[in-house]
C-alpha cells in the first residue's frame, strides 16, 4: 500500500493528538496509512470530528491507494481483456475478465475503494462515478466498454490538499451519517453542477419548452435530480443544503447545531 507521506499540518497534528493520541507518533513516523484514515472516519461518523475539522479538512483530500495488487494470470482467465483508460488523470492499463464491471475493476484491480457497491443493480447510486464528464453507475458499466475513456472517482476530486468545494460543503453541512452513500452522492452532485450550468431539464422543470440557460437549483430540483442516490441514513436535508451552498457559493445555514 502506498503511504501518504506529506508532512502533517499543525491542525492535523492537533486533530490526531486529540482524537487518536496513541497513533500520533506512528503517523508522524511513517505517514498516514489506510487504517488511520478508517479509524478517523469511524470517529467522524460518531460525530466527534466536526468540532476538530476547522483547518484539517485537507486530510480528506489525501488519496490512499493500494499499489500492490497482483496482476491476473492471463492463462487463468477465460475471456481476458486488456483495457486502458484514465482514472483520475492517471493512465491505467489492466487485464480484466470480460465480466468485470467498472466498479469491481476500480475496487479490486486498481485499489480505489472509494466507490461503493450498494446494490450492484443500478438501484442506489453508491457506485456513481464520472465518465467523460457525465455521472454514470459503475456497477452497470462493463469495464471492457471503457477503453480510452476518462474516469473520475471520489479519490480524484480534490486537487492536491485542496478539497473540491462540494466535498467541503458536505463536511460543513454534515451531509452524511454512516458515509457509505457519500462518495456516490458527492460524485453525483459534482456532475449535477455541470448539468445545471448547461441548462439541462429535469422532470420538475416547469417550462420545458423554453431553452433554459444555466439553472439555479431549488430544493425541489435538487431532490429530483439527486433521486438516483439513495441515503439509508436519511441525510437528505443536509445533502440538499450542501449542494445549495456549493452551487450558490453563499453561506447556507446548517441544519444542525451543537447541543448545549
Amino acid at each position: 500500500m502506498k503511504q501518504n507521506t506529506s508532512p502533517l499540518s499543525p491542525e492535523e497534528k492537533k486533530l490526531f493528538g486529540d482524537l487518536m493520541p496513541e497513533e500520533l507518533n506512528e503517523v508522524l513516523r511513517s505517514g498516514l496509512q489506510r487504517r488511520h484514515f478508517l479509524k478517523l472516519m469511524g470517529l467522524a461518523s460518531a460525530g466527534l470530528l466536526v468540532s476538530h475539522m476547522v483547518g484539517a479538512e485537507q486530510l480528506f483530500a489525501r488519496s490512499v491507494e493500494f499499489d500492490e495488487i497482483p496482476d491476473l494470470i492471463p492463462a487463468a482467465i477465460e475471456n481476458g481483456i486488456n483495457v486502458s483508460f484514465k482514472v483520475n488523470s492517471n493512465n491505467k492499463k489492466v487485464l480484466i475478465d470480460s465480466r468485470m464491471t467498472l466498479l469491481d475493476t476500480l475496487r479490486e484491480r486498481i485499489g480505489l475503494t472509494g466507490s461503493k457497491k450498494g446494490c450492484d443493480h443500478g438501484q442506489c447510486g453508491a457506485c456513481t462515478v464520472i465518465v467523460d464528464g457525465n455521472r454514470v453507475l459503475s456497477c452497470l458499466t462493463l469495464a471492457a466498454s471503457c477503453e480510452g475513456k476518462s474516469i473520475i472517482t471520489i479519490e480524484g476530486l480534490a486537487k492536491d490538499n485542496e478539497l473540491n468545494p462540494m466535498q467541503q460543503a458536505f463536511l460543513k453541512h454534515d451531509g452524511f451519517q454512516c458515509g457509505f452513500c457519500t462518495p456516490g452522492q458527492i460524485c453525483s452532485a459534482v456532475a449535477l453542477m455541470k448539468e445545471a450550468r448547461e441548462g439541462q431539464a429535469s422532470f420538475v422543470t416547469s417550462n420545458i419548452r423554453e431553452q433554459a440557460g444555466a439553472v439555479m437549483l431549488s430544493d425541489e430540483e435538487i431532490a429530483e435530480r439527486m433521486s438516483g442516490n439513495i441515503c439509508r441514513c436519511g441525510a437528505y436535508p443536509n445533502i440538499v443544503a450542501a449542494i445549495k451552498e456549493a452551487q450558490t457559493g453563499k453561506n447556507i445555514e446548517q441544519n444542525w447545531l451543537f447541543a448545549g
Partner: protein, 325 residues
C-alpha cells in the same frame, strides 16, 4: 454472469456480421447487464454498440430522427425535442435517474424487459423467461401487473416511460436486418400483447439492429402532458402513466393522442378515449366520460383493482394539464 466473449462493433454492418443466436447487443447496458447478473439473460458473446455512429438527433423532411445509440439524457434535452416534442422530454425525464439516463440509449430503452419480480427470480415459473413453465404472477403478488390485454400466459407490464410518449407521437422504428435490408415498424405494432407467446416482447427479430426512431411532425406540442404516478416521488417505475396531446381548434379537440403506461404488456394506446374526444369540447365533463369509457374495458387481477380508478384520475389530470399547455 456466465463467461462471455466481448466484441466491439465499429459500424452497423460489423454489428450485424458479429451477431449470432447466443450473442446479445450491448448499448448502455443498464438492462442487459442487470439481467445477466441474475442469469435471466445468458449470452455467450456481447457485442458492444457503444461506438456505432448512430448517436445523432437530426431534423428530417418529415419530422425528427433519433439515433438508436443517442443517450436518453441527450434526447430529452435536445433543443428541438424540448420545443416540438415536450411530451417526450418529460417522459424520458420521468424515468430512472440522471445516472441511468446518461447511460441508457434510445434503442435499448425500447427493448428493456419487464420488471415483473417473478421474471427476475429464476427459481420461479415464468412463461416469459421459460416458455411453458407457468406464470407465478397470475396467482402471486400482482399489484404492479396489467389490467389491459393480458393473457392466461402472462400478466406483466412493459416498463418504459419513453415508449409511452413515442406511442402517442406515432413514432416509427427503423431496423437494419442481417441481409443489409431495412424495415420501418409503426410504433403501435412494435411491442406485442402476450397472447400465447409472452417470451416475445416485440416484433424485432433476434439479430435485427435498431438504427433510429423517426418522429413525425405534430401539432400538439403546446397542448401535451406526461403524467406518472408511482410509489415514491422519483426513481420508481410507473403504477400508471399517461401521455396526452391535443390538437385544438378554439376550445374543440380536433384530435387527441393518448397512450398509457403501467397497465399493459405494451404502451396502451387509449383509442376509445381518443375516438370519444374527437371533435368534442375540451371540458371536464368530456374528459371524465372519455376516461370512464377507456377504463371500462379494464380487467384487474387480485391485487391491482386500484389501477382502474388511478387510471381514470391520471387520464383526467393529463387532459387538464395538456389543455392548459
Amino acid at each position: 454472469m456466465i463467461p462471455f466473449k466481448f466484441s466491439i462493433a465499429k459500424n452497423p454492418s460489423e454489428a450485424l456480421g458479429l451477431i449470432h443466436p447466443h450473442a446479445a447487443f450491448l448499448a448502455g447496458g443498464t438492462n442487459i447487464l442487470d439481467l445477466m447478473k441474475e442469469h435471466v439473460a445468458q449470452p455467450t458473446e456481447i457485442i458492444d454498440l457503444g461506438r456505432l455512429p448512430l448517436n445523432t438527433i437530426k431534423p428530417t423532411a418529415t419530422g425528427i430522427s433519433l439515433g438508436a445509440l443517442a443517450k436518453n439524457t441527450e434526447t430529452a434535452n435536445h433543443q428541438l425535442i424540448r420545443k416540438d416534442y415536450p411530451m417526450l422530454s418529460k417522459a424520458i425525464l420521468a424515468g430512472a435517474s440522471a445516472q441511468i439516463r446518461n447511460m441508457a440509449s434510445n434503442g435499448g430503452n425500447l427493448l428493456q424487459r419487464t420488471r415483473c419480480s417473478y421474471f427476475y427470480e429464476i427459481n420461479m415459473p415464468c412463461n416469459k423467461r421459460v416458455p411453458g413453465s407457468g406464470c407465478a404472477a397470475m396467482k402471486g403478488f400482482n399489484r404492479m401487473h396489467a389490467i389491459f390485454g393480458w393473457s392466461d400466459q402472462c400478466v406483466a407490464v412493459y416498463p418504459s416511460d419513453m415508449a409511452i410518449a413515442l406511442s402517442a407521437l406515432n413514432a416509427n422504428v427503423t431496423v437494419m436486418q442481417q441481409n443489409g435490408g431495412e424495415r420501418s415498424i409503426p410504433f403501435i405494432d412494435f411491442h406485442l400483447l402476450p397472447k400465447d407467446h409472452p417470451e416475445k416482447d416485440n416484433s424485432l427479430k433476434h439479430g435485427e439492429l435498431i438504427t433510429s426512431i423517426e418522429l413525425p411532425k405534430n401539432n400538439f406540442a403546446g397542448h401535451s402532458a406526461y403524467i406518472k404516478v408511482r410509489d415514491r416521488h422519483s426513481y420508481a417505475f410507473a403504477l400508471v402513466s399517461v401521455a396526452a396531446g391535443f390538437e385544438l381548434q378554439g376550445s374543440t379537440i380536433k384530435t387527441a393522442h393518448i397512450a398509457m403506461g403501467g397497465v399493459a404488456h405494451k404502451p396502451w394506446r387509449a383509442l376509445k378515449a381518443e375516438a370519444f374526444l374527437k371533435d368534442k369540447a375540451a371540458t371536464l365533463a368530456n374528459f371524465t366520460k372519455a376516461a370512464n369509457l377507456e377504463m371500462s374495458a379494464a380487467k384487474p387481477l387480485a391485487h391491482n383493482k386500484f389501477k382502474i380508478e388511478m387510471g381514470k384520475q391520471t387520464l383526467i389530470h393529463a387532459f387538464e394539464v395538456a389543455l392548459k399547455g
